[in-house]
Symmetry: C4
């Protein structure tokens, strides 16, 4: 096994076998979790002002590790996509969603070195690395199942979202014309009214905006009741998809007729 192959076996996420690989992945997961913890702690102004240097060093340290990992993946991309040319495999890797997330997670820390501006906000892109946690092998089967269910039903779920959107537009326009006259501060325009519509249709109901006219309350009630249908629709779609998956899996376990021995 060449050195490059060894590197690939170390950093590859799908290589379940070897101990060093598992240790490496565990280390990366641990570092990601520490970064999440750091971002959370940094948000406490008192903690941040006391340990600002420690946070800064930890960020540099993490990003350097993440950068090395990213470069090693680029270097071994031809092992990951064996059927492609060297350049082709690197291109495929660079444009994969996870690689883009990884790049977005490390870039903001390097940017101030080039452009002299403080990009505090986009530095939290480091957080995106949390999605890497989905790669943990433990859950991979369930995650795959859920992913397939959403993929199978993406068209039905898309229609649900579409219906929801049209409902929100109609409701918020109506509400602007009805309540905007009485509560111009709460419903000053249709965009503000849209906020009420979302909060009502999803049954969140913060209580910062609500209708006070009779007609407004009537429409609000209709929207809230439709919100229940909005929950029922995707749930029904997903339920049927899960059942379909289970049944087709069982079918795949071919059954033979016990009498004549032929496939049923």
């Amino acid at each position: 096994m060449t050195f490059k192959h060894k590197i690939f076996n170390l950093v590859d996420e799908n290589n379940k076998g070897s101990l060093p690989n598992r240790a490496f992945n565990l280390f990366i997961v641990f570092l990601i979790l520490l970064n999440v913890a750091a971002i959370v702690l940094e948000s406490f102004s008192r903690i941040k002002s006391t340990y600002s240097q420690e946070f800064y060093f930890f960020e540099i340290f993490s990003v350097v590790i993440f950068t090395i990992e990213y470069l090693l993946r680029v270097y071994t991309a031809d092992f990951k996509y064996p059927g492609k040319t060297k350049i082709g495999s690197i291109g495929t890797f660079l444009s994969s969603p996870l690689a883009i997330i990884d790049l977005l997670a490390i870039l903001p820390t390097y940017l101030p070195l080039i452009i002299p501006i403080d990009l505090r906000f986009i530095r939290i892109l480091r957080l995106l690395r949390i999605t890497r946690l989905f790669k943990i092998n433990r859950y991979s089967n369930s995650l795959k199942l859920i992913g397939e269910v959403f993929k199978d039903k993406r068209s039905d779920l898309g229609v649900t979202i579409f219906i929801t959107f049209i409902l929100l537009v109609i409701a918020s326009t109506l509400m602007y014309y009805i309540e905007g006259q009485v509560q111009p501060d709460k419903f000053p325009n249709i965009i503000a009214s849209f906020w009420w519509a979302v909060a009502t249709l999803t049954t969140v109901g913060y209580g910062d905006v609500y209708p006070i006219t009779g007609l407004g309350q009537f429409i609000s009630g209709i929207i809230a009741l439709l919100g229940i249908g909005l929950v029922a629709l995707p749930t029904g779609i997903l339920s049927s998809a899960f059942i379909e998956k289970i049944n087709s899996k069982k079918k795949a376990d071919v059954e033979k007729c016990p009498t004549c021995g032929k496939d049923l």
Copy 2:
């Protein structure tokens, strides 16, 4: 192909083949979306006062286009409903839900020409055209499935709505008698109490009205818990309908007995 047939192929919504037809439908969809955007932007008082003339011209322009489209559809109605007489096909078209929506969308702009009153409110009926977006071919299968599911279960869902209504009436009457004594401003009558009942049963809970007496809170809790059943009932109905649809589709793919070759 006659000129009239060409016109029909251009404006027909179900004609998936030709390029001009697809371009025409795309243009109409685009114009509808621009109208929605215009209605939303017009609701910002500052934008409206600055660009009031532009909005007005855009409305006239859109409505003229929509009117021409409507008239062309009337003109080619006998192609759409081939089995009917000229008059019969126009009558069928005019009384179809989408044609009524289209008429409602254009009429309010013409009305002020006849009656000298400002009908600002009903001019937003243009928004109804948004329902036309459902005609986009991409989603038509999923939309048809969801439509059939609701149609198959309209009786079961009707009973759910009926139970909900009776529950709301009983809850709001009770609450008026219990809380109306202590909070006469929040529960002044049963209609106002109904507003609380809807907000509670749908679990929106804005927080503008809530019980403060022990008995009122007890009933409110019961209603909120029943609200969970209210979500569970239609969801269960829709789930079973989706599964039924999938199974009956599979059955339709006739299976033959592998041994004797006959249909099972």
Copy 3:
């Protein structure tokens, strides 16, 4: 057909055929709806003070009609329960849930004639008659299906309610000890805390009571997330019950083997 038989055919709710019977049932339904409307209108203090006499006469009129209907049902009870003796059939009728509701609906209006007290509150028991609307033939199949689903799964749903109750008790006790120290006015005792627990678990969240301590918010979050499971559990139970019902119905349509002609 005897006079008594004719009366029975008139007032019986399950006799779908005859015109007079359908007219009679429609009249009763109409009267019930008018009574609901009257109760709602009476709750507006201004309307009540203006038309108090009209409301009183309408109540007397309705209750007299309901009383006559009730007595006619008692009179013809032996036709409804043919296998029983005269006394037995009356007893069975009097103890049926719908007869008890009907009695509760008429009694409060007669009571002041006997006891000289004003029982304004219990007079709204007339509202109970609204449950009679469930008897409308249109919905009877769907209503029967929903009823059977709840009956089949009453044990599973009972456990769900039981789990909910235990969760509420534990959550509200914890919250009383945690938040009661900081917000003694909002969480003065466990019963008050229970009100918060119900509003949170059902995701109503009025916003009149909410935790402000870190630990309180943590527990509140857990309860709210469990609240989602609380929705998922009965929904899953009801979904499976609806599917079971549909499948067992299909099975009942006996299928024969197309080759040998025997039942499968």
Copy 4:
């Protein structure tokens, strides 16, 4: 039957047959319910100050009974786990979840006798005994079914919780950076922001914290809509699990071919 065997038959929870055993279990359930009632009543400061001694005596009485029950179970553990040695069976019993709960329920009352501090808070651990109510035979089948459903799908449900958690982390970090600038008192740090995220994703929406900036409201709307997916996902999983259970149960009722008499 030895005296020890008689004791075992008395205190064993799975022994459905004998009358004394059922009476004993009923007495324990009754005592648990009384303890719950006592804890609730004690939370009313006026009731507590008036009857503080009665509550104290009742607690001592209950805990003594619970202690005796606990010791009898330890004593007869070798009957409960027949295949093990005396020591092994006691160890198995002591480490069973219900035994740990029972120990936690009685310990806090004894602690002040050893350590001279007032542990008022942990004394409510007595409440944990409420979980014992799940042992009531009536519900055992349904409870077992629900337990199995959760066990079968623990991996899928785990992924749902995992997705929820990652969603909450990302949403609350974003919201801290967006709303923290405008409402530093409501979103002072990411942990406080997490509280908002939970209340929104679960659609509780107390209304104590909500976004006021346009971008914040936009993200809040997205989270609320995703919250609906969060309900749909576990519901779909549980629905399919319930259906699977019912189907596999039916399969277990072996069907024979009506023609040749052999098992299918």
